[in-house]
Each structure stands twice: as C-alpha cells, then as structure tokens.
Amino acid sequence: MNNQYTIPARQTTILLVGIAIGVVSLLLTYFGSGDNELHSRFWSNILHNSVFFTGISLMAVFFLSASITAWAGWYTVFKRVWEAFGQFLIVGFVLMLILGLGLYFDWHHIYHWADAESVEHDKILQGKSGFLNANMYVIFGGIIVAVWYFFARRMRSISLHEDDHGGDSNFSHHRKLRWYAAVFLPIAGFTSAAMIWLWVMSVDAHWYSTLYAWYAGASWFVSMIALTIMVISFMKSKGYFADVTDEHLHDLGKLLFAFSIFWTYLWFSQFMLIWYGNVGEETGYYLLRKNEYGVMFYGNVVINFIIPFFVLMRNDNKKKYGTLLFTAGVVFFGHWWDYFLMIKPGVIHTAHELLGGGHGHGADAHGAADHGAHGADHVAEAAHGAADHAIHGAGEAAHHASEFLMGYNLPGFLEIGTLIGFLSLFLLFFWRTLASAPLTPKQDPFLEESLHHHA
C-alpha cells in the first residue's frame, strides 16, 4: 500500500514549466503592447488568480472544519488533501500582501477607491473610505489571512501528531480538532465575506450587493471540490489512495452537483433582484456585463450550471471517473471565468476613469448630481425618473462595445498562461505538502467509518 506520496521528478518538472509559463505570461502582459499605461491587465490578472486560489485553500479548511463539527467521517481517507490545500494560504498571504503594498507604493490602479484624487471628488467613495482604504486592505486583510493560515496549520499539525501519538481512549487529538474547527467556522464565515468585499467587490467601488459574498464564496467552494476531484482521480491513477473508492468520489460528485446549483441560485438571486428593482446605481453592474461581455455573461451560466446540472444529474454519471473528471475540469475553469467576470469590467472602468476617459458614468452610481453635469440634452430623460438610468447606461455601454480589449472582454492567451502558472504553483505547493506526511491518517477515530463508506 502506498501510504507515502513521493513526487515523481517528471511531475515537478512539468509543474515548474507551468510556473515558468505563468511568469512569462505575466512578463509579456507587463511589457507587451496589450496593456495600458497603468498596467491594469497585469495587476488584475494577479489579483484574479491570487484571490481565486487563496479562496480555494480557505474553503478546504472551512469544509474540513464543517465536516469535523458535523461528526462526518466519510472524507477521512483523503482528508490530507484538504489539509494540504489549506497550507497554500501562506502563499495567498504573500500574494495579497504584494497587492496591498501596491496600494501604498502606487504600483497598481485596480481599485478606484485607492486613488486619492478620485475620492476627493466623489461622495460615494468618501462614504466608503472607512472600510475601503490601504490600511484596512493591508493590516486588516493581512491579519485575517494570517488567522486563516494559523487555523489551517494548527489543524494539520494536530492531525499529523495524531498519527504517531493518537489512539488514546479519550480521543484527545480529535477533541482538540473539534475545538479548533468549531472556532474556525464563525471566523471563516464572517471574515471570508469581509475579504470578498475588500478584494473583489470593491473593484466596482460604487456598487455593492449584499448577496455578493455568498455568491463569490460559493464559487470558491465549487472550485475547491472540483480541484479535489481532479487531484484524487489523478493520484488514484498513479496507484495512491487505493482506499478512496467510487463511493467517496460519488459523494464528491454530489457536492459538486449540489453546490453548482447553490452557486446558480445565488447568482440568479442577485441578478433577478437587481433586474427587478431597476435602481440605476445597481443595474450598472449587470448592464456593463450583459452588453460588453455577452459571451462570458451567458457562458458563465452555461458552464457553471447547465453542464454540471445535466451531466451530473444521473446517479451513475457521478460514479464514472471520466464524466466526473470532465465536469470537474469544466466547472473549475468555469469559476475561474466567473472571477474574471467579477474583476475585469470594474478594473477597466477604473482605468478609463483614471486615464481621463471619464466614460461609463451613466451606468455607474454617480447619483443625481451626475445628471446635472450632463447638460440640457439629458433633462428630458431625467424627467423619466430612475428608469432612465438604464437607458442612459445602455447608451454609454454601447459606446464601449466598440472597444474590444483582449484580456478584459475575454481571457486571452496571457490570462490562460497566468492561470496555468498559478495552478502549477498551487499544485506544486500542495503536492510538496502532501508528500511530507502519510496519506492516510491512521489514528483518526473516523478512519474505519470512512473505509467502509457506502453512499
């Protein structure tokens, strides 16, 4: 039985090549011609992937904690995978710190709220500046990610310690784990929402949605499950994890299926309420995405809902490795795509503003004062009330539609390359962590239950 993973040299080489592709892609983005003078594309690619992979590792720790708290046992044979996923939070900490320091040293202009001159003339940004500021981003954000990492590290070390010193009649290790897990759940629940507001939602600094954190968090969660399925299938094909049976993969498939639907539910709830309410300051977010990102906007629903829903609906499809693996791959890419759609439109909008374009006001939330500035030809429209925001916004959006920008309107080769780089980094880190400990937690009190798991 292969209880100890050793990374084949070839695998390390492939992952290092992957990282090199990522680095080259980032350099090409920075120095190539496809970027504006603020390097928005370069920095938003870093933000996009950093947030995506940090979130995946957070969700692994979160779900592990939820499972421990719920007395679940089925996952125990492969719990080292989730423990190892969680350790990537230290890399996420560094990546987010780089982005945070960029706010102080003016490296990037992803966030509209970080531009002192814009804030000075903007009531809405002023109102949010108590939360959206560089100190909050670096210090508060840094502390939170450090706390996440502390729990991830502690829970893994308790689990590893249990291997050699566990098995006492008191289950002292498991009791300790339960304590950490129960404490981590509310912390992760509240702080993940705060981090999503700070890192992702604030890209559209004038806009907000109370559902957003759930929706983005569900995206992380589905990606985490998809990556787990892919990693375990790969390792099974190499002869490891012989005890992880169809039943375990079936349950992971169920989670992938269920949480894809959960994600869709949140995505649609957010969309429909904004569509129905038709408040100008809210609709701007979707108008921009529908008009300028049509393929991605509707494609988002197709790859993250239609495909997993219909492919995984049948019971036996969740037990077929090929089908499950295919869906996991599609959904993983799909949620990366989802994050692209969350981040890029806001970034390019901010770049337009800062570079003096000043476009896109109509769809955004500059409030009633903006109408006055637009002059007499808008008076008639203003009389129509709130609904004219939409009409006006659509006009502005149509103006943008002519400017197709690779890397903003659609992920280009450089974005895919960056994804490959970050994914390779994640996997290399993950496999090195996984290889440093036995694969089966042999003293875990739930191991026996997990070995006989029947779904």
Partner: protein
C-alpha cells in the same frame, strides 16, 4: 382482494449488519428470499438482493420537465397573449421573472408525480390495506421472509436460526 394468499415463514433480526450477513448466506445457499423488510433503507442491501436500479427517477425527470414546460409556456401565454399587463416597466415576456415560478412548478410536478407513481407501482393508496407480517418491522426489527411454496419450511427455519434471527414465525398473507 383477489390475490392468491401466500404461506410465509419469516425471521426477525435486531441488527442490520446481522441481516446483511444473513442475506449473503442465503445467496450462497441459493435460498430464494421472497422479501426483506427494514424500518429504514439499508445501504448496500439492494445489490445483494439483485434488485435493478429503480427507474423512478427517470419518471421524476419527465414530470419535472413537464412542470418546467407548463410553468414557462403557461406564463408566456398568459403574459403575452391572454392578459398582458405591464409590471414595473418590464417587457411582457420577462424571462427572469418567470424563473422562480418555473422552478417551483418543476419541483412540485416532480415531487407529486413521483409520489403518485410510487404508490401506483406498489399497489398502495387510500383505503387499500396491505398485509403486514409484524408491526415492529416499521420500528426496530429487520425481517427476511420466505415463501413456503418455493423454499422448504424446515430449511428456511434452520437457516433463520443459524443466521441469528431473534424470532421465527409463519403467517398466511
């Protein structure tokens, strides 16, 4: 009822693990089990008894699809042809507004359709009384029953005793 009666010998077990082992033994001895009754679904029992996978969920999918079509086409007809009303300045044919109701009817049709199908297939329904071997099999007892016309009564009895049945009894149903 017009159904022919059956002379049944059955044993009651206290634990589902014991029951599972008994079923395995019966399979190895080629004893034809008439039916197994359990108070809750026992995982892994179906393949041991050689049951095919239920097709009820295919029915569920079809009923659900009917619900989707009913809701969506129904609302489309009502709001564009039959009685068009403007709500909040939205177009008559407002797909996003239809989706929650479409979802609800999909679930409703699938649920009711599957329940009705399940009842019909099993010959259950209001007013129909089905024979029960022992009331406790709906509570905490696990039961294996043999039809005396296919399995010799003494063989069945010794099998039930050997595999750990707590009580053995016969009944004509």
């Amino acid at each position: 009822m017009a159904k022919a009666t059956k002379d049944v010998i059955y044993g009651l077990y206290n634990d589902e693990e014991v029951l599972m082992n008994a079923v395995k033994v019966a399979n190895s001895k080629h004893l034809e089990i008439m039916e197994v009754f359990t108070p809750f679904p026992v995982h892994g029992l179906d393949p041991l008894l050689g049951f095919e996978e239920s097709r009820l969920h295919i029915g569920g999918f079809i009923y659900g699809g009917l619900g989707t079509l009913t809701a969506f086409l129904g609302m489309t007809w009502i709001f564009t042809k039959d009685w068009p009303v403007i709500f909040g300045g939205k177009p008559y044919w407002s797909v996003p507004a239809f989706i929650p109701i479409t979802f609800e009817l999909t679930v409703l049709f699938a649920a009711i359709g599957m329940v009705v199908t399940f009842y019909i297939i099993n010959g259950m329904g209001p007013g129909i009384k089905l024979p029960i071997l022992d009331n406790r099999i709906t509570d905490d007892k696990f039961c294996i029953a043999f039809d005396k016309s296919t399995v010799d009564a003494s063989t069945a009895e010794s099998f039930l005793k050997e595999t750990g049945a707590e009580e053995i009894d016969s009944k004509i149903i």
